[in-house]
């Protein structure tokens, strides 16, 4: 794993997860969702599952970057990558809270 990847992967995954979850919300709130015979309750469940998957992915990155197999030879890269992974985890939880805590499709 290159150092560039170690530094950039967590926040890139956060951006992708953010776009995917809120894109999914758009699909859930469209006429096509109910047109396919799905309910808003199922839509909420899908959103929560997608959010949980995104958080699990960030936790895996945070833990994985500490493993010797994926660790950087440069101490400052290792420290910065750990900080950025922590920031990405907090950002993921923070930005996905509305998916769980707020009304859907109003």
């Amino acid at each position: 794993m290159s150092d560039i990847l170690r530094l950039s992967l967590p926040l890139t995954v956060w951006i992708a997860a953010f776009s995917a979850v809120y894109g999914l919300e758009g699909v859930v709130c469209s006429d096509r969702w109910t047109g396919a015979g799905l309910t808003l309750g199922q839509g909420r469940a899908a959103l929560v599952a997608a959010g949980a998957l995104a958080i699990a992915l960030q936790l895996a990155l945070l833990a994985g970057l500490r493993l010797p197999r994926f660790a950087s030879a440069l101490p400052w890269v290792q420290r910065t990558a750990a900080i950025l992974a922590g920031v990405a985890l907090v950002a993921t939880v923070w930005s996905l809270v509305p998916v769980v805590a707020t009304s859907l499709c109003l």
């Binding site: 923070w94 809270v97 509305p98 805590a101 707020t102 009304s103 109003l106």
Partner: protein, 223 residues
């Protein structure tokens, strides 16, 4: 200096009729309260930062033995902890207010329809089929009103600052905005998004009626 001198002069030109800080309904009141709290909070934080900056300049000198402890206090405590706490509180409160602004079904809710186009607003009323008004939206005072907003051409933005926040009018899509006026009267509204050369005249009026006048309007007894 120039900004400090000219800003009060320019603010003096602001009108109450288009001021979100002079709410005339519950939704606008919630938004105004949020605005004032954010302004007061931001001002307090600015003063705190300026005081700390002044103290730092007065202290002077180079690094000392206590600097590692100071780093924990200033960077982790005030830089991260304080900032995150303020942002978390504002986010939670903003979400709570956002929930209260949503157009939930309930007794007494009136539906009206607004269609924006370059450069006019056309309003229709499901409770009075065939009734159409241009440039004036009629609503009952004291009752929640759901405005079903769409556009005939480009994207516009529907905004009555004293009654609610703004919401986009999108071609082929309907957005619903809950507004309510506490009292009968006229409230200024406008297209709040640039939409071409006629943008400056893209405004309208919301006319809030008392119960008797609203019934008369629906019956077609008033223009």
């Amino acid at each position: 200096m120039v900004i400090g001198g000219t800003t009060p002069l320019m603010l003096a030109g602001c009108e109450d009729r288009l001021s979100a800080l002079h709410p005339a309904g519950p939704a606008a009141a919630l938004i105004a309260t949020l605005w004032w709290v954010m302004l007061a909070g931001a001002a307090a934080i600015l003063v705190l930062v300026l005081v700390l900056l002044a103290l730092a300049f007065r202290r002077g000198g180079g690094p000392s033995a206590g600097d590692s402890r100071g780093e924990a206090v200033w960077i982790k405590g005030l830089g991260l902890g304080f900032t995150m706490t303020v942002l978390a509180a504002l986010t939670a409160w903003g979400l709570w207010i956002g929930e209260r602004l949503l157009p939930r079904p309930g007794p007494g809710v009136v539906a009206v329809e607004a269609q924006g186009r370059q450069w006019a607003w056309r309003f229709t009323y499901p409770d009075a089929p065939g009734r159409v008004t241009e440039g004036a939206l009629h609503i009952p005072a004291g009752r929640p009103v759901d405005v079903r907003i769409t556009s005939a051409d480009v994207i516009h933005s529907f905004w009555v600052p004293r009654l609610a926040g703004k919401l986009d009018a999108i071609p082929g899509h309907v957005n619903v905005l809950r507004i309510q006026a506490w009292a009968p009267g006229e409230y200024a509204g406008l297209g709040a998004e640039f939409n071409g050369p006629g943008y400056r005249r893209h405004h309208f009026t919301v006319v809030a009626h008392d119960a008797a006048a609203w019934d008369a309007f629906l019956a077609g007894e008033t223009p």
